[in-house]
């Protein structure tokens, strides 16, 4: 449904997106995880047709986002990261304007959304809090029941209660079979909603993981201390991915994926072991490992 192919847009000073390729299938929710300035919004910007790719292509439902953006927008609900609403309107005025520009009448939907997010759209938009503006933006994005949703940090500015409500709301949208691209830097929200998660760093996709992998634990880290130097040395010669070892304490840490379990058991069998510790990596740790390469990670340096 959403296709990003080799998207490159260099803004200079190492900012922009580089060779970003991913796809969101119909009915799928893809989380786009990365800190501020990693290129999440830049990618969204290209999907919305605000910017043209320097190289590569972006399309939604088979339509090119650069030439056909106004046509694509009929099917897309977009929640911008920015909550600057058009000037000179009250909340109802804004909703009316959006209805007019979308050429739709969907008062019932609007009413349901307003009730659900407990928003009273009276009063000038200028004097509304960030949360209220965000809610108005949510109403505008969802009132037309769009098939494709592009959500750029959707819960920022909402209070915790409303964040929960919003996550429940997106779950319902998923059940309706919507295709969703959700950018965020909040792990809980991404973990709760997404079928797959793409991690972006300095404009490049560094990893894509599925929800199943996260539920299972993305990696297992085994930390083993041996009783003798001989066993310790023998373990180090095994083909396993030893990330850290310490001669003094005779301690080794290895990353063991499921398919390597037997190799690991072979490597430790017949050896005298002092202690053994297994640790599963959560999404947050996994993410941090890409971002803070020098940070101790699961008891080991993961550089």
């Amino acid at each position: 449904m959403i296709k990003v192919n080799d998207l490159t847009h260099d803004y200079g000073h190492n900012r922009g997106v580089f060779d970003v390729t991913f796809e969101v299938s119909p009915g799928e929710t893809l989380g786009f995880l990365g800190p501020n300035g990693a290129g999440k919004s830049t990618t969204m910007r290209h999907l919305m047709g605000f910017s043209k790719p320097q190289r590569g292509s972006v399309s939604i439902a088979g339509l090119d986002c650069t030439d056909k953006s106004s046509e694509i927008m009929k099917k897309v609900g977009y929640l911008p990261g920015e909550v600057a609403l058009p000037d000179g309107l009250d909340g109802y005025g804004f909703i009316k304007m959006m209805q007019g520009m979308r050429k739709t009448k969907n008062d019932e939907n609007v009413k349901a959304l307003l009730e659900r997010f407990r928003l009273d759209p009276k009063g000038n938009v200028k004097r509304m809090s960030i949360g209220e503006k965000r809610k108005l933006a949510v109403v505008a994005a969802f009132m037309d029941d769009p098939d494709v949703l592009l959500l750029d940090e959707p819960t920022s500015g909402l209070d915790p209660l409303m964040q929960e409500e919003f996550i429940a709301f997106i779950r319902e949208q998923k059940k309706k079979g919507r295709t969703i691209l959700l950018s965020s830097h909040i792990f809980s929200e991404v973990e709760a909603l997404c079928d797959r998660i793409a991690i972006i760093k300095e404009g490049r996709l560094v990893s894509t993981v599925t929800a199943a992998e996260i539920a299972h634990g993305l990696h297992n880290i085994m930390t083993v201390s041996f009783e003798s130097k001989k066993d310790y040395d023998a373990f180090l010669t095994s083909p396993l991915d030893v990330r850290e070892h310490d001669k003094k304490s005779l301690k080794c840490s290895v990353v063991v994926d499921d398919e390597q379990i037997n190799d690991f058991i072979n490597a430790v069998s017949g050896k005298r072991i002092k202690s053994f510790d297994e640790h599963s990596v959560t999404l947050e740790e996994y993410f941090m490992h890409y971002y803070k390469t020098d940070k101790k990670f699961g008891g080991m340096s993961y550089a």
Binding site: M48, K52, S70, Y78, P80, E82, A84, M101, R102
Partner: protein, 252 residues
């Protein structure tokens, strides 16, 4: 080609500025044409300066609010997240800008026509002693038409900067400079006209020179020919601004 909901929003968000400029300009006009102290300066001061200064400020602020400031603030994202083409957005905003100037000068013309009917003024009293008769309604219409055309050109240049730049820092900076130079040069040229040697050369520096109320009063057709140039400038600038806005990458 134009989006009515967007036009409505533009009208609402610029209503205060439009209302106050139109009000001030019409009041000044009524004052200049009614009070005995100021009547003689109706043309030199009011039509000579006010009809470019006041709308000049209006177009400077409004043209930038219509596009570049919405791009800079990010509210343009909400507009373009609807099935509305960029061409439609830019044409709608240009239509608002031109339309608001037309209605501004419409109100001004009507107020002047009304006061002129109540208290007619002889051309001789305006400083044109060689001319006979009173200031006619037709002349008032023609003067306002000539002023309107020049203001549409001023607005177009501001609109062009608004369409080209994503940052109001540049769009307001450049349109401000343009409006400032145009109005100042026009005033200096007017002093040149009134007899200060050398200052008349400033007329070559400003679009406002194509606005020629003297030609209207002398009932020759110069003012009509002179309207071609601001019309051409306006057409070129609106086109350039629209194309730039259509093609550029928006930082939304």
């Amino acid at each position: 080609m134009i989006s009515l909901p967007l036009l409505k929003q533009s009208m609402k968000s610029n209503a205060v500025m439009w209302g106050s400029m139109t009000g001030v300009m019409s009041l000044l006009c009524v004052q200049f044409s009614m009070l005995d102290m100021t009547r003689s300066m109706l043309f030199t001061i009011f039509y000579g300066m006010m009809t470019t200064i006041l709308p000049g400020i209006y177009v400077l602020v409004t043209a930038n609010k219509l596009i570049s400031s919405q791009v800079d603030r990010g509210s343009m994202a909400y507009i373009l997240a609807t099935p509305t083409k960029r061409t439609t957005v830019v044409v709608t905003q240009a239509v608002y800008l031109i339309g608001s100037l037309i209605s501004m000068f419409g109100v001004l013309t009507l107020s002047h026509l009304a006061t002129n009917a109540a208290k007619p003024i002889a051309l001789g009293e305006l400083g044109y002693t060689m001319l006979a008769g009173d200031l006619t309604g037709k002349m008032i219409l023609q003067v306002n038409l000539s002023a309107l055309m020049v203001n549409i050109a001023l607005a177009a240049v501001c609109f062009m900067f608004s369409g080209i730049f994503n940052s109001t820092k540049y769009s307001i900076g450049l349109s401000g400079t343009f409006i400032g130079v145009s109005i100042l040069a026009n005033m200096l040229a007017m002093f040149g006209n009134l007899g200060v040697d050398g200052l008349d050369k400033f007329k070559y520096l400003t679009v406002c020179s194509f606005y020629d109320y003297q030609s209207v009063l002398f009932a020759d057709n110069d003012w009509i020919t002179k309207m071609i140039f601001p019309a051409l400038i306006a057409a070129a600038a609106y086109t350039a601004g629209s194309i730039a806005f259509n093609k550029k990458d928006l930082p939304l």
